[in-house]
């Protein structure tokens, strides 16, 4: 069972994502509400996959992604953001994000993407 760390400033998004993942055989081993906390949690629980919201107050998802990739260049980070933020997605992919998911969450898409990432 792949382990997942969810980094998102929205409690609603964390809750919906966690429900979807746990229903589909992923283990959510940590949650963080900003980039700084996300980086610390990553070092603490070493998840197989990180789902990372891009737009967060304070340290955003792209900065946190860079820190995680410095810590572990093989880290699998899936970026999450509202639709329409293509430039930020491109920037995240350049910094090593493996995939991205757009909000609002679609269970079918999330499970497909995370299964693909877990198997890669």
């Amino acid at each position: 069972m792949a382990t997942v760390l969810i980094v998102d400033d929205s409690r609603t998004s964390r809750k919906i994502l966690k429900n979807i993942l746990e229903k589909n055989c992923f283990e959510v081993i940590g949650e963080a509400q900003d980039g700084e906390q996300g980086y610390l949690k990553y070092k603490e629980c070493k998840p197989d996959i990180v789902t990372m919201d891009i737009t967060m107050p304070g340290m955003d998802g792209i900065e946190c992604l860079s820190l995680i990739k410095k810590e572990n260049e093989d880290a699998k980070v899936v970026m999450i953001t509202a639709a329409g933020q293509r430039e930020k997605m491109v920037s995240a992919v350049k910094r090593g994000a493996v995939e991205y998911i757009t909000k609002p969450f679609d269970e079918f898409e999330i499970v497909n993407v995370l299964n693909r990432v877990a198997e890669s």
């Binding site: 929205s10 998004s13 509202a82 639709a83 329409g84 930020k88 757009t102 909000k103 679609d106």
Partner: protein
């Protein structure tokens, strides 16, 4: 949307009661089926294709039928056939009023004429309302100065219909310089044509939208409920930014902001659109970013 606009007019005029309108709407609901479901049951699409179209709908502000055509799953003729099967909302509404013996056809025709006169609508406007197409209905409720926000308002209404409740309709929008607001969420879209938009509580619709989108029974519009409302606004703006980026414009979304205790919004020009979910009201407000 048409059944609510005309239904509430009939209630206002005392032609039917609120309870009778609810009965009519429930009867109508029980026979209305989603387009994807009909397409699958007719054998035009597979479940997987319908799911895929639903996924695309999550990121693109487009109708099911349009996406299915673009992806080669349905032809225009098939979509037309499916829409026919799904039924015309206006005709179903009128038929149910008559079947329930609440009004006679001739009375309905007269009332629609009065509705047209009272709102200074022309024949084409009435046809737009009867079409039940949000894109055709929304402009009728916007003053001239608000037309520049029409695209964003359209995305907001369609997103609320898709993610919160199918039973949504809007009232006449107004331009104001100052608005007293109850609990609200806002988000800034930064770019050449940047705007700030808000979901503001009226008398319970924002709480209802938060519960529905957040998949939780919030007792009040507290921090958690507003977080859900903020995520909903984020989805609206993401879809709008996505549409704008296809037109070559870049809009950057800042994190949503929450104001649980409410405040007074004062800007040079605010466009306030009343949005109704069943009997409850919220406001979608848009203003140009400074």
């Amino acid at each position: 949307m048409v059944e609510y606009i005309l239904g509430n007019y009939l209630v206002q005029r005392g032609k039917i009661s609120k309870e009778q309108l609810q009965t009519v709407l429930q009867k109508q609901d029980s026979v209305r089926v989603k387009l994807g479901l009909i397409a699958v049951s007719e054998g035009f699409m597979t479940h997987e294709q319908a799911e895929e179209v639903n996924s695309i709908q999550a990121t693109e502000d487009k109708r099911f039928g349009d996406i299915a055509i673009e992806n080669g799953y349905l032809t225009e003729e098939q979509v037309a056939r499916l829409l026919k099967k799904q039924g015309n909302t206006y005709l179903m509404f009128i038929q149910t009023l008559v079947d329930e013996q609440l009004l006679k056809m001739v009375e309905i025709d007269d009332l629609i004429d009065e509705f047209k006169r009272e709102n200074s609508f022309g024949n084409a406007d009435i046809e737009d309302i009867k079409s039940d197409d949000a894109d055709r209905i929304i402009p009728l409720f916007l003053p001239e100065q608000a037309k520049k926000y029409q695209e964003l308002i359209g995305v907001a209404v369609r997103t609320l219909i898709r993610l919160v409740d199918r039973h949504i309709y809007i009232g006449s929008a107004v331009m104001e310089g100052s608005v007293e607001c109850a609990a609200m969420v806002s988000q800034q879209l930064v770019g050449e044509e940047g705007v700030t938009d808000y979901f503001v509580e009226g008398n319970g619709a924002l709480l209802k939208a938060s519960c529905c989108f957040g998949q939780e029974d919030f007792a009040a519009l507290d921090e958690d409920a507003l977080d859900a409302a903020g995520e909903l606004l984020n989805c609206v703006n993401g879809l709008y930014a996505s549409a704008k980026s296809r037109q070559g414009q870049v809009l950057d979304l800042l994190p949503p902001q929450y104001t649980p205790s409410g405040s007074t919004l004062q800007k040079r020009s605010l466009c306030r659109v009343p949005v109704f979910i069943d009997d409850k009201e919220l406001y979608f407000i848009v203003t140009a970013a400074v």
